[in-house]
Subunit: 93 residues, 2 copies
DNA sequence: TTACTTATTAGCTATATAGCTATATAATGA
DNA sequence: TCATTATATAGCTATATAGCTAATAAGTAA
């Protein structure tokens, strides 16, 4: 599994961006409105998510629209379950 | 969800420690043997995992035995699925 | 071209993290 | 008590990260 996905998902602001994009694509400005951070700060978070391939972007006029890459997100979840899920082991209390 | 769990799981060395402990409790030394890092480096990773409550420790003589806290790990996985799983949305290609 | 809007990039600061070596602590056993 | 073993902590360096403001880029429209 790509380390960059773990690093991207380890930040609360970026996780909230992912949750916002679950409701559909949004422009960088729309995303930034949900936070109290400066807009360039959110832009850099978007870059981190993009490098992890968790989101894609496309330009629409002056807007840049970000969209969730559900495939990468779900492959990450599956990887996590494969490696860390269902690991009950004998309780030898 | 506790931010410290995300931070703890975002490091490849710590994830490998978690995987090792899925096979059962191990001493700090046994764990360190699986890595090429210095022993204090692994000790610090164990501290990070302990603070996230992903592992517990108990002393047995001169050894300190670490054990996976499967509850915290599984609650994390469930939280992830609740927030990020099953998020298919209309493809408007 | 100029002005306006949207967003990114540059450059900075402060803090966190991962690695190391050296030292300290804690238990055991002579 | 002293030595040994197992492990943690202290103190350091180098790098990464998150935040900011200021500047740049790219599209639209007059």
């Amino acid at each position: 599994m790509n380390e960059s996905v773990f690093k991207a998902m380890s930040d609360a602001t970026r996780r909230k961006i992912i949750e916002l994009l679950k409701d559909g694509p949004k422009s960088a400005g729309e995303i930034a409105e949900h936070f109290s951070h400066a807009q360039p700060t959110i832009s850099r978070h978007l870059t981190v998510l993009k490098h992890a391939k968790l989101i894609t972007d496309r330009r629409e006029g002056t807007f840049i629209i970000y969209q969730l890459n559900t495939t990468v997100l779900q492959e990450w979840l599956i990887w996590l379950f494969d490696h860390f899920g269902g690991g009950e082991q004998d309780e030898e209390k």
